[in-house]
């Protein structure tokens, strides 16, 4: 595949640059952008978190860097030889085992644990500008999707509407998926698998011509990329449904603006147009959810303070109001509290009303 060739060439070029330095008699050095809060910038123009200009120089002939340097080059070589050249994909864990061995004549392991290879892969991502998935390294898959969409994946035609109760599990690499037919009008992403199952059982996606998608907890890269592609390629509105608490708000924030850890991949992951569907502070009042309050603890308050000070929330009056109300409530509310009004209250009343009335936050 032409794309894999491009990635291969980029890795090869990475090696050639090092060899050139060596040939000149220079201490070989890799410039790696620093991936830490100190080097993450909120770009107001694109409304995404991007990596700053700060780089770390990692040179081979330096006691503190030598091993990391070797690990990065070795992992690059493994990815090129074992994955890109054979067209195979592997997990992060596989890469660790492929790199793991003892350096001859020492009792030093080339890599000690998986964080060594994970970091090397992240380095290669920022150095080559290709995502982990493009390097044929996948994360564990996590998350399900159903809805009015037909795709082609690895030669198979898959109708997201005909996959029984489990739905299609979203792989970590969605680059090569082709969308065959997209009849959905919008997408709802929810943080909770249990809520997704409620919507699926009630055939919410069928009745409302949409796609429902979830992952348990943090949104995976595969899902973020899948959402982004559907947003970019089919202009589908995306709604996020999370608990009314600061962590739910942060899930929305990561999908919309990006995260610190993956700031280098923002371009491929962030969806600035994504909208917050609920649960909002106003929902709490409107649907009388106060009786289901869960008290905030110190950690919640600290996190509220942090989030309200993020650059992208700082000047957003609506979000400041939401966070202020949460503080005033001194409490948070789960999505499932809606079930108190009936098990299908969420699919029959709450969601249709919210979407119809465009009661969303941005």
């Amino acid at each position: 595949m032409a794309k894999e060739n491009k990635v291969k060439e980029e890795l090869k070029e990475f090696g050639i640059q090092i060899i050139k330095q060596v040939d000149k008699g220079k201490n070989p050095m890799i410039k790696v952008p620093i991936r830490a809060l100190s080097n993450v910038i909120y770009d107001k123009k694109t409304k995404t978190l991007i990596l700053g200009e700060k780089t770390a120089e990692r040179s081979f002939f330096n006691v503190a860097h030598a091993k990391k340097f070797l690990q990065t080059v070795e992992v690059a070589s493994i990815i090129k030889r074992e994955l890109l050249e054979t067209g195979k994909h592997s997990s992060l864990r596989d890469v660790f085992y492929m790199a793991k061995r003892t350096i001859p004549g020492t009792n030093v392991n080339l890599v000690d644990d998986q964080t060594d290879t994970d970091k090397a892969i992240e380095d290669l991502e920022v150095v080559t500008n290709f995502s982990r998935e493009q390097l044929n390294v996948n994360a564990n898959k996590n998350g399900s999707v159903v809805g009015k969409v037909v795709i082609e994946d690895a030669g198979d035609i898959i109708d997201w509407g005909k996959l029984g109760s489990g739905g299609w599990s979203v792989p970590s690499n969605v680059e090569d998926i082709k969308f065959k037919k997209v009849n959905a009008k919008f997408i709802i992403y929810m943080e909770k698998a249990a809520v997704w199952e409620r919507l699926h059982e009630d055939k919410f996606w069928d009745k409302n011509n949409c796609v429902i998608i979830s992952s348990q907890g943090q949104t995976t890269r595969g899902i973020r990329r899948l959402l982004q592609r559907m947003y970019d390629e089919y202009d589908l509105p995306i709604y996020v449904l999370v608990d009314f608490d600061v962590y739910g708000i942060y899930i929305y924030s990561v999908i919309k603006y990006g995260s610190i850890a993956l700031a280098h991949a923002s371009e491929k992951l962030t969806i600035p147009g994504v909208k917050f569907l609920g649960i909002s502070a106003d929902d709490v009042i409107k649907y009388d959810l106060k009786k289901h309050f869960i008290k905030l603890d110190d950690r919640d308050y600290a996190r509220i303070k942090q989030v309200s000070e993020y650059e992208w929330f700082k000047d957003n009056k609506e979000w400041q109001r939401q966070l202020k109300m949460m503080k005033e409530f001194g409490a948070k509310v789960e999505i499932q509290s809606l079930s108190a009004k009936g098990i299908s209250f969420i699919t029959e009343k709450y969601l249709p009303e919210k979407i119809k009335n465009k009661e969303v936050l941005e």
Binding site: L11, K12, E13, F14, G15, I16, I18, I19, V22, D23, G25, K26, N27, K31, I34, E53, K54, T55, A56, E57, R58, F60, F61, N62, V63, A64, H65, A66, K67, F69, L70, V73, E74, A76, S77, K80, R81, I103, P104, G105, T106, V108, L110
Partner: protein, 525 residues
Amino acid sequence: MGDKIRAEELAKKQRQVSVSEFFVRNRHLLGFDNPVRALLMTVKELCDNSLDAAEEMRVLPEIIVEVKQLAENRFVVSVEDNGPGIVKAQIPNVFGKLLYGSKFAKLSQSRGKQGLGVSVSVLYSQLTTGKPTKVISRISPKKPAHYYELKINTQRNEPEILIEKDVEWKSEHGTKVEIELEARYQKGRQSVDEYIKQTAIVNPHVSITYITPTKEKMVYKKVVDELPKEPREIKPHPYGTELGTLIQMLTSTTANTLFGFLQNDFSRIGGTTAKEMCHLAGLSGKENPRRLDNVSAEKLFNSMQKVKVIAPPTDCLSSIGEELLIKGLKNEIKADFYAANSRSPAVYRGFPYIVECAVAYGGDLAKDETAKLMRFANRVPLLYQQGACAITESVGDTNWKSYGLQQSGNNLPAGPAIIIVHIASVWVPFTNEAKDAVAHYPEIIKEIKLALQDVGRQLGFYIRKNVRVKEQQERLGLFEKYIPELASSLADLSNGNKNKIEESLLRILKKSIKDLTENGEREQG
């Protein structure tokens, strides 16, 4: 009446206990309390005497020590020297009478002191085996060699001569003594072997041939051809004289006036000082010292302590010296590093003394054990009572951690090291008559510590430098191991030539060894 009879009866039983009898009952006081130690003490006393004698005659001592095992608990110790020999008339007294010696109450730096050692061995020998001690001695090639077999009459403290004759002897001058005794031979820290070895270390001018009970012949050749500076005898200093000694000196002096006695029989007392002392004691100075009563003697004693007197002369001492300490150590101990420090003479209680230290480090020495401490007094190894010795306390009180050795609390340090401490004095303050340990005088401990700190600093400098070199080598080694790995990864990644990359990397490594200490990533804004 009855009382009187009783007293007379008692008087019949009361008799003088001879010195010999006293030591028969109290032999532990002199170090003859167990068979292992008895063997060592006998060898030690004979060697000390032989070395002292040869040095006094200003010849380089050559001694032959042989320990022969006759039965499981029966040994013969023989020591032969090339000293001046003993005149015929004195031989029985030297070996057959306790407390008879040329060095008793004489203030000069020598190994033996009380005139006790050899005769106690003779006594111990006859107590445990019933055998006489055999002595051959010759004072000149022109004179015959005399042979004696003798014992001690313990009641009268007099020699008992069994055989006395002139014999043929190969040596021109010297003495050979053979003592049979009940004993036990063992190796280790407190053995005869260790004593001989340590003696060789601090006496580099001495040649010792030692034949062990297993017939092994060990030769310790001298490493220098020069005798140590001859120690000089000094007169007592008023500050180091006790009342009893003063009274004894008064009765035996040849001076006719107290004034003259003070000036002649003590060091550092001149006319003015003597006058001041007499005045302070309420005496005129014209009194006959031999007739001074005890009350006046005590007054004089007190005034002698009060008047300011300059310290005694210190040129009477003979130190080993830094150079020879290291030479002696090098000859016996294979190590990577040696250092020594010889302090200037100092004075405690009117007695001059010198402290010397040396350290050997690394090489064949055991790495994970407590460092070995060798204690010496007037060039004699001290093998017993290490824990009770001021030297041990001084070593423990020194902070060896800052000199690169390990140490827990105030214990001896740990690491591949040997520490040597030598005290030379006209009067080493031992804690007991067996001369096992040095007494805890604060001024002596302070001097020892100063000497230890000096060698410690030298050692610390060496260890730090050496560790740095070692670390750098390890670092280099690591890169040498990493380079082939990096070269093959790079060659694989970019279709390069592995050997060529490896060679280039090795060249850079050689060039940039110095920069490899740099740590941490550099940030660029």
